[in-house]
C-alpha cells in the first residue's frame, strides 16, 4: 500500500513551489553555505555581479556573475585567514564593498569591517580594515552600507565591556567617507548592557537567552534620521540618528517574553507607516517556535502596535523535516540600481520553509503569494534545505541562499 502522505524525509527531499520557478542553481564550487550578506553590483562594463558572504569559514565571500541568470558563474571566491572568524554580512555601494567580520572567541582577530574596491570584480582590492576587536568583542555581525558614506555596524569594540557576556555587540555608525580611514561617528547600546550604565541590566529571557545585541540596523536614504534596529531579546527599536554622534531611542517594542526572543530585522515599508519585523529561528526542530514575521503599525512611532503576522504553513510538518523552521531574513528593499523595492510585497526566508513572498496591501491580512522550498541539498547536514537569506533584483528575480550546502538558487516569480 502506498500512502499519499510523505514521510518527513520524503517531504524534505521534495521541492515545493507555488508562483515561483527555479531558473538556475549554483553550488558555489562546493562551498554552498551562505550567511546574511547578499548584494548586487552593476559593474562598469554592465555585468551584474552578485556578492555573497559565507556563513562560516573557510570561505570569506563569493562573487557570481548573474548577467545571464540562467547560467550563473562564480568569478571569485576568497578565503578567511583562519577557522575562528566568519564574514556573514556584506553590502555594496557602487564599486565599494563592506564586509563584516565576527570571531568565534572574544579578543580574537580579524574582527570588524573590511572595505574593498571591487571595480574589477575578479580582483577585489582591500582598501582598509576597521578594527573592532577587543577583550570583550567578537567584532561585527552585520553591516548596513547603502549610501557610500556611513556603515552601520552591529559590533563590539575594544572599549566596550558588557554587563552580560551575551551582550557583546552594540550599534556603531562608521564614517567611511574616506574609505581608507573609516572612523566611528556615533554609537548606541541598550541601556543597562554596558558596564557602568546607570540603568540596571535588562532582564534575561527565561527560556532562550539570545542576548541584547543589535542584529540588523536598517537606515534608508528616504529617512536618514531614522535607524530601524532589531535588538534580539530587546525587540524592535527606532532610533533618531539625525545627530549621528548621539543616537536617541524613540521607541522600543518588546514582545519577548511571552515570545521567544531574537528579533532579527526591522524593515520599514516606507510611505506606509508600517514595519515588517522578523524574528530569527535559532533552534532546530521547532524548539523555539513560533518565530514569525510581524506586520507592525508604526503610524505613531512611540507606540508600535503589531497588527498581523506573515502567514506560514503550520509548524507540525516543517519542524520535523530537519534543521530550523521559522522567520529569518528579508529582502530589505535596499537602495541601489539593481534592487527590487516595494512597500507592499515582502519576500522573506524561513529556513526549511524556503523563500516566501507576501502581499501586505492589507496589513491586517497579509497574503502569501508565492513560495519556493528547494529539496534538501545533497550534502545538507540537517537533511533539509535551510534558506538563510534572500535578495530580489529590479526584474523580480529572487536570489536565495542555503545556510550550509545548497549555494545559490535563482528563482523567477511567475509570470
Amino acid at each position: 500500500m502506498t500512502t499519499a502522505t510523505l514521510s518527513p524525509q520524503a517531504q524534505a527531499k521534495q521541492t515545493l513551489a507555488w508562483n515561483m520557478k527555479l531558473i538556475s542553481h549554483n553550488e558555489l564550487a562546493g562551498f554552498g553555505g551562505i550567511g546574511e550578506g547578499i548584494n548586487m553590483q552593476v559593474a562598469k562594463d554592465g555585468r551584474r555581479i552578485l556578492w555573497l558572504a559565507h556563513e562560516s569559514a573557510p570561505k570569506n565571500f563569493t562573487a557570481v556573475d548573474v548577467t545571464d541568470p540562467k547560467n550563473p558563474q562564480v568569478i571569485v571566491q576568497t578565503d578567511l585567514p583562519h577557522e575562528g572568524v566568519r564574514s556573514n554580512s556584506l553590502d555594496v555601494v557602487g564599486d565599494v564593498m563592506a564586509v563584516a567580520y565576527q570571531t568565534k572567541k572574544t579578543g580574537d582577530k580579524p574582527a570588524g569591517m573590511d572595505l574593498f574596491d571591487i571595480s574589477t570584480p575578479e580582483k577585489p582590492k582591500l582598501v582598509s580594515h576597521f578594527d573592532a576587536s577587543g577583550p570583550h568583542s567578537r567584532g561585527a555581525h552585520c553591516v548596513w552600507f547603502v549610501d557610500g558614506e556611513y556603515a552601520h555596524l552591529t559590533s563590539g569594540s575594544a572599549d566596550f565591556e558588557p554587563t552580560h557576556p551575551n551582550d557583546f555587540q552594540f550599534y556603531r555608525i562608521i564614517d567611511v567617507r574616506n574609505p581608507s580611514k573609516p572612523v566611528e561617528a556615533g554609537r548606541w547600546w541598550y541601556p543597562g548592557t554596558h558596564k557602568g550604565d546607570s540603568a540596571p541590566p535588562p532582564p534575561r529571557h527565561p527560556r532562550f537567552d539570545g542576548g541584547y545585541r543589535p542584529h540588523n540596523v536598517n537606515v534608508y536614504p528616504e529617512r536618514p534620521d531614522r535607524a530601524y534596529v532589531a535588538y534580539l531579546d530587546g525587540g524592535a527599536l527606532i532610533l533618531d540618528i539625525s545627530d549621528k554622534s548621539k543616537p536617541k531611542m524613540i521607541t522600543n517594542w518588546r514582545y519577548s517574553p511571552p515570545f521567544n526572543g531574537f528579533c532579527h530585522t526591522v524593515m520599514p515599508l516606507l510611505g506606509r507607516d508600517l514595519l515588517i519585523v522578523t524574528d530569527e529561528c535559532t533552534k532546530d526542530d521547532g524548539i523555539d517556535w513560533p518565530k514569525l514575521g510581524w506586520v507592525v503599525n508604526a503610524s505613531v512611532e512611540t507606540n508600535l502596535v503589531p497588527v498581523s503576522t506573515l502567514p506560514l504553513p503550520p509548524p507540525e510538518n516543517f519542524t520535523k523535516r530537519g534543521g530550523r523552521y521559522g522567520a529569518h531574513n528579508l529582502h530589505e528593499n535596499l537602495p541601489g540600481p539593481a534592487s527590487f523595492r516595494s512597500n507592499t510585497m515582502v519576500v522573506g526566508t524561513f529556513f526549511n520553509g524556503g523563500v516566501r513572498a507576501f502581499d501586505t496591501s492589507n496589513p491586517y491580512q497579509p497574503q502569501e503569494i508565492a513560495y519556493f522550498v528547494p529539496g534538501a541539498p545533497e550534502l545538507s547536514p540537517k537533511g533539509a534545505i535551510q534558506i538563510n537569506d534572500v535578495w530580489v533584483d529590479e526584474k523580480g528575480l529572487v536570489y536565495a541562499v542555503d545556510r550550509f550546502a545548497g549555494g545559490l538558487y535563482i528563482i523567477e516569480m511567475t509570470p
Partner: protein, 350 residues
C-alpha cells in the same frame, strides 16, 4: 503583483456517460512522462475505476499512484477535497502537484463541479477550470443523446469532446454522432480516440493560463464555433440545446453588463448552461473575462491587454431553449435602460 491567473492550478473535468471510457483515458494521460505531478479525484475505486495496475489497493482516501501522481477518492464533497489538497500541497505532505483532474460519475451533471470552482473563495483563488472534457461512446453515444438528459448536458458543457471506442463503430455511425455533437456544442472541437489514446495537447491548457493571453489562446478557449456564420448563429434543429455567440461593438459599463447578466440569470438561470466571453469595459485597457455556468458566474478577471485590434465584446452562450433573439433583446433592453439612466444623470448634474 502576481498574475491573477497564472498561479492557479488548472483543473480538468473529465465527464461522460457510463462506459464512455473516462478511466481508460485518464490512465493513458497519467502514463505520459509530463503528467507525473497530477492529483486525480475520482468518485470510486471500483473495478472499473482508476487502473488496478496503477494503484495498489488502499483503504485510504488519498493514494500515491505508481507514476508519482496522487489519487483521491471523493468521499465527502468536492469542495472539501480540493481545499484539503491545496493545504496538504502547501504543507508539503503530499506531492507538489501542478494539475488536477476530476473524473465525474457517468450520471453526473458537470455543472455543479464547475460551479464549485467558481463560487468557493478559497478554491477560486487557487484553482482555475482548464477544460471540461466530455467523452462519448461511439457505439452507444447517439442513442444515449436521443434518450437521456445527462449525456446531452455533458456534451453541451464541454470544451473538448472525445469520441471513444471509435474502432467498434462504423464510420457512418461515428459521422452521425459527430454531427449531432457539433449541433449540440459547435464551440467544442471533437476528436476520436482509439483505446483511450488522444493527443495531450487537445485536452490541456484550454483555459486562459495568464492575463497576457494571446489571440490564439483566447480563440482556443472560446472555441471553434465563435466564427461560424456571419452572425455567429449556428443552425439548429428541433433539439432544445442552443448555442450562439453575440458581439457588441460598443463598450459596456460594468454596471450595465452585470445588470444584463443578473436579469438573464434571474429569469433563465437553470437554462443558461454555459457562458464564456470577453467583455469590453469602458476605460479599461484590457478585456474582462467572464464565465458562467447556469446562475453562477466566476468573478471577472481583467486581461493585461486586447489580443488584437478587434475590441468587440464577444460572448458565447450555450443554453437550454433560450433563443439567441431572446438574449439579444434582453441585452438591448438593459443597454437602452442604462443609456436613459445615464442621460438622466447627466441632465440632473448639468
Amino acid at each position: 503583483m502576481l498574475d491573477a491567473l497564472s498561479g492557479k492550478f488548472p483543473v480538468s473535468v473529465v465527464t461522460g456517460f457510463l462506459g464512455s471510457g473516462k478511466t481508460t483515458l485518464i490512465n493513458r494521460l497519467l502514463k505520459r512522462p509530463d503528467m507525473n505531478r497530477v492529483a486525480v479525484i475520482v468518485n470510486e475505486l471500483g473495478e472499473q475505476a482508476i487502473d488496478n495496475d496503477l494503484i495498489e489497493t488502499s483503504s485510504e482516501q488519498m493514494m500515491l499512484l505508481n507514476n508519482g501522481c496522487l489519487c483521491c477518492v471523493l468521499r465527502g464533497d468536492l469542495q472539501e477535497t480540493l481545499r484539503d489538497l491545496f493545504v496538504k500541497r502547501r504543507n508539503g505532505v503530499v506531492i507538489d502537484f501542478n494539475r488536477v483532474i476530476i473524473e465525474t460519475t457517468g450520471l453526473a451533471d458537470p455543472a455543479p463541479v464547475m460551479q464549485t470552482l467558481m463560487t468557493d473563495d478559497m478554491l477560486q483563488a487557487h484553482y482555475r477550470l482548464d477544460c471540461v472534457v466530455t467523452l462519448v461512446d461511439a457505439v452507444n453515444g447517439l442513442g444515449q443523446l436521443e434518450t437521456m438528459q445527462e449525456p446531452v448536458k455533458q456534451a453541451a458543457l464541454a470544451d473538448r469532446i472525445v469520441i471513444t471506442k471509435s474502432d467498434l463503430a462504423s464510420n457512418e455511425k461515428i459521422n452521425k454522432l459527430e454531427s449531432r455533437l457539433r449541433e449540440l456544442n459547435p464551440q467544442a472541437p471533437v476528436k476520436r480516440a482509439l483505446n483511450g489514446e488522444i493527443e495531450l495537447a487537445f485536452l490541456i491548457d484550454v483555459g486562459l493560463r495568464d492575463t497576457r493571453a494571446k489571440l490564439a489562446d483566447i480563440e482556443r478557449w472560446l472555441g471553434v464555433g465563435t466564427h461560424e456564420g456571419a452572425d455567429g448563429h449556428v443552425h439548429r434543429h428541433d433539439q432544445s440545446i442552443r448555442s450562439f455567440s453575440l458581439r457588441f461593438d460598443q463598450p459596456f459599463t460594468w454596471e450595465t453588463f452585470s445588470q444584463c447578466v443578473e436579469v438573464l440569470t434571474s429569469m433563465r438561470g437553470p437554462d443558461l448552461l454555459r457562458v464564456k466571453g470577453l467583455v469590453n469595459l469602458e476605460g479599461r485597457p484590457g478585456p474582462v473575462v467572464v464565465q458562467g455556468v447556469q446562475h453562477l458566474f466566476h468573478p471577472p478577471v481583467e486581461l493585461a491587454g486586447w489580443p488584437s485590434a478587434d475590441r468587440a465584446t464577444r460572448i458565447v452562450f450555450i443554453t437550454r431553449g433560450i433563443e439567441r433573439r431572446t438574449v439579444e433583446q434582453l441585452f438591448g433592453a438593459v443597454i437602452a435602460l442604462s443609456g436613459q439612466r445615464d442621460a438622466q444623470k447627466a441632465s440632473r448634474s448639468g
